[in-house]
Amino acid sequence: MTMNRTKPELKNEIKFRLDNIATYTLSNGLKLFYLRKEKLPMIRLNFVIESGGKFDALASPGTARLTSQTIDEGADGLSALELSDEFDLLGTDFSISADNDFIIFSLQSLTENFCKSIELLSKVILKPDFPGKEFEREKKKLTVSIMQLKDDPEMIAEQIFDKIIFGNHYYGLPVRGYLGSVENINLNDIKNHYQKHFKAENSFIAAAGNIPYEDFFHSAEKYFNTLPSSSEKILLPESIEASDKKVFVYNKPDSVQTEIRIGYLSGRRNLSDYFSKLLLNTIFGGQFNSRLNSNLREKKGFTYGIHSQFIYYKNSGYFSISTSVSSENTFEAVKEILSEIQNLEKGVTKEELEFAQTSLTRKFPLNFENYRQLTSNLSALAIHQLPLSYFNNYLQNLNTVTLYQVNEQAKKLSQADMKIILVGNKNTFENDFKNNGFELMNVNEKGEVL
């Protein structure tokens, strides 16, 4: 060898600071968050309305999703296809999604077409026609997609996991609904959902683009100051009754792999423990070199990948580990995961923590590269009511977390009431579990114990 091939040292640390976030609240209560991003002639926005699946707990699962699917099927006299053509003619990307908390309208356009695009968006949000014929088609599409769920082991595992973790709490319901529930939803149900929840106080716009913030605020005001306000607060039942059982199995005899989900209810996001949980998860299962992936993929070869995360809804949150393994390795894989969880009782090492802090600190600028990242970061501020200085204080908050704090979280995790969900060919692993003292509860795809 002609040269010394040792690891090069990094040159000076990079300093990165996010530009100031501009905010404004319209007279009706609609909140606006904006970041200027100059690289390309583009703008992207998320219009976020707290009208998601959690409110179906008061009506019927699937109502919010079906509302989101029908709302752009005709507005202000334009038919569904005319509306879609208008967006397409501008080359504007427009999509709508519904999750547990929110219905989210996403728009990405060239700056030259922004005014026309936001005007079209305002028609969809403020003047939907909800034609009966289009509603029936979307309803059929949704019921058929629920039928298709049976084919998809990952989706089944997610749906069961939510139900087992959240029980009868509203976050335990699938946003897409159940076959039976969606069939009973009628046009009036979604009109009511719209009337009740599409209110300015429940909404915000998070946007990033290459126009001055004044222009953005001006457009938003022009098109959305008529979104109605309402002072009514809708209260949802908050109690969660967890099952006392541990292992839940959905038998899918045709499977060649088992989908595994392991997790527990870990609570809503708050600044006091967010960073210690983030660091703990980075070490445990959040990146390629995590303890879980190093063991189950790189050492044992059980899986293509294993991952863990803390998920935060607006009002609650959970921790979950997810992977899929070939059927014959199901028990061994679960055993390894449980032993990694057990090991957390001893805490993580100072080296592991420093590595995670260094890695996340240096990676920070990568989170602000594209317009989608920017709008989703702004959305996170709004959803979790974080201070506007959040991203400017991020690195300080990350780096002042102590080993003691992370190990407190590690201990909590090691003692948590972890639920285990298995979707696969039960015959291939049933005996391994029983012989090792586990009781297996059979569940259907809704997560109901049979």
Partner: protein, 421 residues
């Protein structure tokens, strides 16, 4: 449009490694992206999946980088990384804060020049098992997951480099020995068979010096000639039926077409957008929106260095026969053949393409990969404008003509139907 006109320098160092550097100081980031000009198309028919398995082995450490440390060093520097294998090539890439460029070059050069001594049986057995699980997770255990390999196997002529899937068949993956892996390296992983792109907040002269420093001593060797293929047609229509654990039946129609960047490639892409690219596209309107006989429909042109095909996929609503979907799909294409497309349809497609080209310039790692892509297929990294002009120079009559070509071809039909319980 100057946004799509990128400045760059392209050079070769002494051992033949091609180097392309593009400076972009908008964020303190750098992307490093290497294409090796070997993918699954370079495999032998009874050793499928070797290029992809080899990609996995490239992450298992090299002479100066212990197992798992490759990932660790990139993560420690605040970067992200991955690799991917396709029919035509294998790529490896990192995106990092710009002060860590040297770390990425050190790691990439170590596995380019000093991999073999670090390989061993236990690493190979581990990654064979990981790849078998990848195959199970992404194909065997997915609804309709085997459609792609059934299409390529049946559509492309026997022995054609696209006639087996990149992931490989399970029995082949399980059969690989350390010698197979070493021989693959010795055939294809020469510096002269690779192109290194560096894009981002870098000083061009410094970057070249670093490339010389880390890659300069790696010896080159002669690599095999690329496979030679001709475009082909089918002597007759082919029909394949496959039973799967699915609730809904799905129809696939695959027509042999042209290689990427050949004449007609862009026309086929535009046709696919007219057929299925939007709510009001021809097939979506007819099958999903108006008649509600399909849950979904999509059409696309897939084209690579060695061949191409046009594919239409549609999932039938419960109780609907696949033959009905097929009949109506052909009716819709025939309508384009007889009446052409409207001005409005054409403008929608063109404006969508323009927006997509601009949107694709957001990420520096994407730009780096595209410089490599254009360099590989066209010999000119800065081909963004050339590429968008390919689409913009198509006119509505060309789309009508290509629809006529398509419909006159013999094709492969794949039906995925329910297993009886």
């Amino acid at each position: 449009m100057s946004l799509l006109n990128l400045s760059y320098i392209k050079t070769k160092i002494k051992n033949g490694l091609e180097v392309i550097i593009h400076q972009d100081k908008s964020l303190p980031l750098v992307a490093v992206n290497i294409w090796y000009k070997a993918g699954s198309a370079n495999e032998k028919p009874d050793k499928t999946g070797l290029a992809h398995l080899f990609e996995h082995m490239m992450f298992q450490g090299s002479e100066n980088v212990a197992k798992e440390m490759h990932f660790k060093y990139i993560q420690e520097a605040g970067g992200i990384l991955n690799g991917s294998t396709s029919f035509d090539r294998t790529n490896y890439y990192e995106k990092l804060p710009s002060n860590a460029l040297e770390t990425a070059l050190w790691l990439e050069s170590d596995r380019m020049g000093f991999l073999l001594k670090a390989l061993d049986e236990s690493k190979l057995e581990n990654q064979k098992s990981v790849v078998v699980n990848e195959r199970l997770e992404r194909y065997d255990n997915q609804p309709y997951g085997l459609a792609w390999e059934l299409i390529v196997k049946n559509l492309f002529p026997e022995g054609h480099p696209y006639s087996w899937p990149t992931i490989g068949f399970k029995k082949d993956i399980e059969s690989f020995s350390l010698d197979d892996v070493i021989n693959f390296f010795k055939l294809y992983y020469s510096p002269s068979n690779a192109t290194l792109v560096i894009a981002g907040d870098v000083d061009i002269q410094e970057a070249i010096i670093l490339v010389e420093k880390y890659f300069g001593e790696i010896p080159s060797f002669e690599t095999p000639a690329f496979p030679q293929t001709e475009n082909f047609s089918l002597a007759e229509n082919l029909y394949v039926e496959h039973k799967d654990n699915v609730q809904l039946q799905r129809l696939y129609l695959a027509f042999p077409t042209v290689k990427c960047y050949q004449p007609c490639d862009a026309e086929y892409e535009i046709l696919s957008d007219i057929l299925s690219g939007s709510k009001n596209s021809r097939l979506n309107k007819r099958l999903v929106f108006d008649e509600q006989i399909a849950q979904d429909v999509s059409a696309f042109q897939f084209a690579g260095k060695y061949g191409g095909m046009f594919i239409i996929v549609s999932t039938a609503k419960p109780g609907v026969k696949l033959s009905e979907l097929k009949q109506k799909i052909f009716e819709e294409i025939s309508l384009i053949v007889s009446n052409g497309i409207t001005e409005k349809e054409f403008i929608k497609t063109q404006n969508g393409i323009k927006s997509n080209f601009i949107s694709a310039m957001q990420n520096i790692d994407h730009i780096a990969d595209h410089l490599n892509h254009y360099n590989f297929y066209l010999g000119e990294p800065n081909s963004f404008e050339f590429d968008i002009n390919r689409y913009q120079s198509v006119n509505p009559d060309d789309v009508q003509k290509i629809a006529k070509d398509l419909i006159s071809k013999n094709y492969l039909e794949l039906n995925i139907i329910q297993k009886e319980n």
